[in-house]
Symmetry: C2
Subunit: 468 residues, 2 copies
């Protein structure tokens, strides 16, 4: 007997306790505070003892309830950042992934799970209008973006062998922070990421992109890649993908689409993403707009050879000993990861349970919810719309009775106060230097009635704040 | 009602079905074939239809059993690569992580879960002899190694702003493939990773390291970091950490330890890892020698400022609005990740259930199991030991009645045949150009009796192979 042994029956008893907690969590989700009522000090104190030398056995599970009480609830009115709502069948897919604990490195290591992941990747690629693309699941959009840019670098300005990469990349001024981070990690230098001005709808301006590329060319620098954003984090803007694709082709560059937030919505609203299929690489996050539990990023690419050029460094101990193309397949030849969790399993179970059609419908409802909030903000004199809902993010601020100079400070305090009340949870954006409240709908639980709660809570919190 | 709605009671019924499958999986684990009897074509065919347009509802769970039957079983005699055994309480911790679906980006996003992760990181750092280190969980050793080297680059040869990184890194000739991959991704160029010769026990030779650094200095190149390995993937060798630390200090370099395989064993055998606490950064994989379900890597570092120098690129929309140090804490300022799963939760639940002492005991048993196999190989005339068990990997080959020239080919076929028989599952290594069978013990289920199965299966498979 091992010191860690646990009988299957004992496991089952513990599993039932966790399932009971999960069921209660789901039952109470809609009525509990979203932001937990806990301070940093109290939260640190819960874990100040560290891991114990002697085990607590079954009693160790007693700490789960207080732990869960101190988390943020992803209920119907959690509308902050861009973070999906944790669809419960996906939760069970994740549970299976942990039970079978396959290391999804290569087919030989996890046969059915590797085939499952490849199939899910192909299906999602088809669903968003990128037929024929392959790829893999990643920890999230940051990894997927970094891998897409690494492929671009190796395709156009190879540095894997000799180092000292140089070249220029282009993205809109509304780019997500993971892109400058990736450009820096890849050794290209943040100074070599050009931030292209946007139009009135926060979309990259094609004329400004061409001008920047031509200026760099004229100065003897080497343009490598354009990063188009399909769903900016601030306002949900989708860059003009067809125009970007044409420019990229004319200049012989790589087109990466950061679709972490938006690309999966192409399943439901293809008209908003025309040109997506012309990308060379594309990131999307199934833990955002496919409502899956984190982590569940996806990198798609047009040409697997480009992925292998960037990532294939196989050591002898991991080299395949078969000639069969399927049985010799290794994700680590096309990814920066080696050990990998079966992240695709939750998507597979969740989508097979509900069907793609139900996801399309839910995404359409999110978009409609955002339009509804936009309308409510427009109708409310105390509120000012700062960005219309082009995808599913709505930016606005409170302004009744305030001077222009007070707006940023008041709305900053107002955001904290709204979230502290616990009924809705939203976040913020800075638009042309103005502090904005921001609600983002990637939540399968949100109903039209929940949408009306948002302006009501904003107004109530503003009144309270003014009375303080 | 959303198109994706599922009542808590319905969720519970599905959860019970999954728990039943999990219980059966655990009950049958020891008696089933390790390598499933499935071809690449059959495995692909299972998923050839892709994701369905219309959902299957409860019937979608029917596919779980065939899926699970086509996976590789991590039972007591799975001894390949370096991959932990999926401790079942850890599985339940993972289940909770999916239920609460916190995005562990920053304290404000997941209060108790962030405090939990910081506490688990501190506890593990203490347990392996690195008190005061902080860090974060990662997808695995590849990410953790890459982040450690990114910190080294930014500390000694900053390239985040201007790009064109240059400098030299050093590792032993037995280095894991994730290191050249990371060096290449960071733009330093694989040619600038020096592979230092090893001694008779496959450990980096300090004299050769000093020589290489001095040669690079003399040639005007800039040494940046030494990567010491604490548990090489081939033989489990631990580089001479104290010597490396001294050399690193003398030359003003960064010391990263790739402890993905071995470092957690410092909990049980600190005498094998003297000098580990002198690292600047350290990777370890809790899904290896802490038996947790994947993915569960850890990056530790001595100085959080160095992590922030490498990774802090915060966009406005994610900027903290508080002055409280705990409440303002963000993992993404110290990591290349933004969205993050609650990976620490399984470690927390599993270790609190069993206690650190039980993990220490289990690790000691793994080391003893490896020594036992080494002894059995030595006693068996048909087998030849190719590397002794310094940690928990044993390398050997079959040689009875074979010419030297036949050994590589025969043992290559033998490995496939052993694994095809399904009773044990081992992998391979190439040692001084020789193909070696390799068993690696990071498995809490393996008993001394299981160890005796290994040579028995190798001999039986060799007889069958010769008779073919």
């Amino acid at each position: 007997m091992s010191s860690l042994d646990l009988s299957p029956a004992h496991f089952r008893r513990l599993a039932d306790r966790v399932s009971t907690l999960a069921e209660e969590w789901l039952e109470e989700l809609d009525t509990r505070r979203i932001a937990p009522d806990i301070t940093g000090a109290a939260s640190e104190a819960m874990f100040s003892e560290g891991l114990p030398e002697q085990g607590l056995g079954d009693a160790s599970l007693d700490a789960l309830k207080p732990l869960m009480a101190g988390t943020r609830a992803g209920n119907a009115r959690f509308l902050a950042y861009v973070f999906g709502s944790g669809e419960p069948v996906g939760v069970l897919g994740d549970y299976v992934a942990s039970v079978v604990n396959q290391n999804v490195t290569a087919w030989r290591s996890a046969p059915t799970v590797v085939s499952l992941e490849r199939s899910v990747v192909r299906s999602l690629a088809n669903a968003v209008g990128c037929p024929g693309f392959t790829g893999s699941f990643t920890g999230g959009g940051s990894s997927a973006n970094m891998m897409g840019l690494a492929m671009a670098r190796e395709a156009l300005a190879p540095a894997n062998e000799d180092g000292s990469p140089s070249g220029v990349m282009y993205a809109s001024a509304e780019v997500h922070m993971s892109i400058p981070k990736a450009v820096a990690l890849l050794g290209l230098g943040r100074k070599n990421l050009r931030l292209i001005p946007t139009d009135a709808q926060w979309r990259m301006r094609p004329d400004a992109l061409v001008k920047a590329i031509e200026e760099d060319r004229a100065a003897g620098r080497r343009p490598i890649a354009v990063i188009a954003t399909a769903g900016t984090v601030n306002t949900g803007a989708v860059d003009p993908l067809r125009d970007v694709a044409r420019i990229v082709r004319e200049h012989g560059l790589w087109m990466h689409v950061d679709g972490a937030y938006g690309a999966l919505a192409a399943m439901a609203h293809p008209e908003k993403f025309e040109g997506l299929g012309e990308a060379d690489s594309l990131s999307m996050d199934a833990h955002k707009w496919l409502y899956q539990p984190a982590d569940c990023g996806v990198l798609l690419f047009r040409d697997a050879k480009a992925a292998r050029r960037a990532f294939s460094f196989t050591g002898d101990y991991a080299r395949s000993l078969t000639a069969d193309a399927v049985e010799g397949f290794a994700f680590f030849d096309e990814s920066m990861e080696l050990s990998r969790r079966a992240r695709a399993l939750k998507v597979w179970l969740s989508v097979r349970f509900h069907g793609l059609a139900a996801f399309r419908e839910s995404i359409r409802r999110d978009v409609a919810n955002a339009k509804r909030l936009e309308g409510l903000v427009r109708e409310t004199p105390a509120l000012e719309l700062l960005a219309p809902a082009t995808l599913s993010a709505v930016c606005f601020r409170y302004r009744a009775g305030l001077e222009d100079a007070q707006l940023d400070d008041f709305n900053t305090k107002l955001l904290a106060h709204i979230n502290r009340r616990g009924r809705v949870y939203i976040s913020n954006a800075t638009l042309e230097g103005r502090f904005s409240l921001r609600a983002c709908f990637v939540n399968h639980r949100t109903t039209p009635e929940d949408v009306t709660t948002v302006p009501r809570e904003v107004l109530a919190a503003a009144e309270e704040l003014k009375a303080l």
